[in-house]
Symmetry: C2
Subunit: 487 residues, 2 copies
């Protein structure tokens, strides 16, 4: 990994096949294409499609005012990237560039519990597995570093170029997560978790008052802005854990802070039926008159275009209308929703109502830090929704990959900045390599995707979605900088 | 891989932690244990639990009449298996022996389509994706070899030590699959697919008559018995594709053949609602009076203790009673049932009715050849069943791993032969290694399972179930013979 190399990368040109979402239900395949990335900004400054690049490269260098000798060229059409060290696959191997994944909901602090949830559901899961682990990171900075470093390293290796992280209640541990994202070069929203409601939060893991919740949040906002003043890579996010763990005072203050400072907001909504009952009980006025769980956030000024709501499994028609009106985004977390038996979110239903949706791994309610796994499970969960009778609920390969990239970018306020290969966007990308099968059925293992050579590009992408993993993600770049490399 | 080495392995002793199912809901952890495996039979001849093996090994060698110098020792407690070539993980790494997985339902011929299914459901999926691929293998032996070799190699690498395979209609291609299983050392049932019903099977891919269906099946049975007379590794299975693709004459003849020769039977039942309607329409008499889809097989003598029925998603109470009465087994295929929107099988409901259940990958209705993935999805799908209101439907980590091993063994008629580490059973096993996380959050990658060092064994197994893959399966043995090794 070269993320620690802080000098700006040179101007770069990437040549080969590029695949990205053109629309929700359409992947575009750009073959024999060259994408020119400006060094210090990481911005895509030119895209030459279906080009004879031997001739066109020089022309474009010329028009960009680049000196050819100083440009770094990654050409998938003439050589294996990575040189001699890599084995030769069989005849069918395929390589392409794909936009980096966006994880719209992940608790970095819960990473060590990935896969551990027993038969619990939300509230029991929080108390049994989650609060003790999160509290432990505040008490032990070395443990926090170990956990966060591993989490960021892992998500990068899975192709996550941008993530909306929850840290913990602790200020220092939250600030550390900001530092680690910058250190490793991952784009991120980072939020200190606010929770000050004594009726639901354990005494050993909460803010002592709404005032303290606000002050600590402000400290973390200041730290993130000090470390990345332009917010080009890491930005702070106002993060009330969820309505039941916050007092009205805290939520009102956080809503005002977010509005005043133009900050992103992230929280949870309508994940589990018991939780929804609890919200109705704790906030009878704010949730009354059909305003529901979402209405509680709205009452405290927390529902805006910059708000990411995780789950939204059991939203009512009225709540969906409210989200749409406010422009609030939904982070769909299928691995988590299935694992802790929250329900099957109706993504098609949300999309049909004009709500923007991205994918979240929701580690560790979700068992996997991989957005590709979240996309796979989004496909499967949509089929469980369809089994209920609505065949239109099924999400296609194209659709879940849209949610994993452009959809997620929109949730994080990065629309037009990342999520596709277009001039003006920044180079957040992954190089995907799928293994070929030799004539004898042998061939190098580059993960579990086996390309026989007769597949269409559509089919290869489907194979990647369903059997791919981090082994297929050979290189990852954020803002033009190489941040992960599979050796 | 040393499967090609046909000389019997030496006597072996395996020392370390062994984990296996003691009962449906209970994993047993045997630490500091030694398992003694007889060379030529691959049988476990002694298990010394919680032993001081430095002293006890010699005693046991003595009582077994083994010469210590000729015994191969795999000791996980003193050294890394595999020697110098392997990197050191962090502090938390864990290694243990686990029984090999049993895949109770997999179409080897469909392996190249793993992950490719679009938005189709069963009947459309068969016509669009499946029949053309299967037919192609009969026409091209080199292609058949390439596909089968890859499939067997892949399933071995995922820890599948025994599989119930469907080949194709073609005799030569089916026989080839038998040969490849023997060549690579995988335990298998192999069935030629019978399909002779002109109303539902394409003219370019079917048996021409019931008579031909029977004759071709007999050819394949004879081949398998010639190649493995004792059936110690590979046995033939009578395989009517499913009721709608077979004439009554063919099913009756196949049922008689299976009964006469004591052969295993494998087919599909009650996968998809459209299919169930079709069966009712095609077999009004046999399915009438509440006997249903299962009743059709019963009418033709195909429902017995040696019968493996894939899916069983929508069985009625009466059908479940019939299965129980006949002792027929169910192969639960969660990946497939979700992917092609068949439904969510009620595994708890089946188990409560006294029906034996194993797991099937059902490649390529299922997208993955990994039984670990099937176990993971069995857990998640059971939670979707629970969302319908029956909280008891949830399957635990212990339960899905039971289904993946002992449950599957029972389905394949291998109860008491494989599935656990008990004296008298054969050594079908995998060595699992989980990666440790270093103090700095770095550490070698042995797949996606990160062990921090504070986890309980239960938690490590849960982490393996939810984030493990073939990278964690470092070695695989069948009948004492090493058949896969991760380098």
């Amino acid at each position: 990994m070269s993320a620690t190399d802080k000098s700006p990368p040179p101007n770069q040109v990437f040549i080969g096949t590029f695949i990205h979402s053109k629309a929700l239900d359409e992947l575009e395949y750009l073959h024999n294409t060259a994408v020119f990335v400006h060094g210090s900004t990481g911005r895509i400054v030119a895209v030459e499609k279906e080009c004879d690049h031997s001739r066109r490269l020089d022309e474009t260098f010329n028009s960009l005012g680049w000196s050819p000798a100083e440009v770094k060229i990654y050409d998938l059409t003439t050589s294996r990237v990575g040189g001699e060290g890599e084995g030769e696959g069989g005849g069918g191997e395929a390589r392409f560039f794909f936009p980096g994944f966006v994880d719209t909901h992940i608790h970095a602090s819960q990473y060590p519990n990935a896969g551990i949830f027993g038969k619990s559901t939300l509230i029991e899961w929080l108390k049994t597995y989650t609060f003790p682990l999160e509290a432990g990171l505040g008490e032990d900075p070395a443990k926090a570093r170990r956990v966060y470093a591993r989490c960021v390293r892992r998500t990068l290796s899975h192709g996550t170029t941008a993530a909306a992280y929850y840290a913990t209640v602790d200020v220092a541990a939250t600030n550390l997560l900001v530092d680690i994202c910058l250190e490793k070069g991952q784009r991120a929203l980072v939020g200190r978790v606010c929770m000050d409601e004594p009726r639901t939060c354990p005494p050993w893991y909460r803010d002592e008052s709404a005032r303290q919740a606000l002050a600590r949040t402000a400290e973390c906002v200041a730290h993130a802005r000090r470390r990345d003043p332009a917010g080009g890579l890491v930005r702070p996010a106002v993060t009330p854990r969820f309505a039941p763990s916050c007092t009205p005072e805290a939520m009102r203050a956080l809503g005002a802070l977010a509005a005043r400072e133009g900050l992103a907001v992230q929280t949870h909504v309508s994940e589990n039926k018991g939780e929804i009952d609890l919200v109705r009980e704790m906030f009878p006025v704010e949730s009354g008159g059909g305003r529901g769980y979402a209405g509680v956030y709205d009452a405290f000024g927390l529902l805006a275009e910059r708000t990411i709501l995780a789950h939204a499994v059991h939203l009512s028609e009225e709540e969906a209308g409210l989200l749409r009106e406010r422009g609030a985004k939904v982070s769909h977390c299928p691995c988590s929703n299935s694992a802790i038996t929250s329900g099957a979110a109706r993504v098609r239903w949300l999309l049909d109502r004009g709500i923007d949706v991205g994918l979240g791994t929701d580690v560790s309610g979700g068992y996997s830090p991989s957005v590709l796994e979240a996309a796979r499970q989004a496909s499967l969960v949509s089929r469980h929704v369809a089994m209920g009778g609505d065949d239109k609920a099924k999400l296609s390969v194209e659709e879940v990959l849209y949610l994993a990239t452009r959809g997620g970018a929109k949730c994080l306020g990065l629309e037009g900045t990342v999520g596709a290969f277009e001039v003006g966007m920044e180079w957040d990308a992954q190089l995907i390599s799928l293994g070929g099968v030799g004539e004898d059925g042998e061939g190098e293992d580059e993960g579990n995707v086996d390309v026989f050579g007769w597949e269409s590009w559509d089919e290869m992408v489907a194979k990647w979605l369903f059997n791919g993993d981090d082994r297929n993600t050979r290189r990852v770049w954020v803002k033009g900088r190489l941040v992960h490399e599979k050796v």
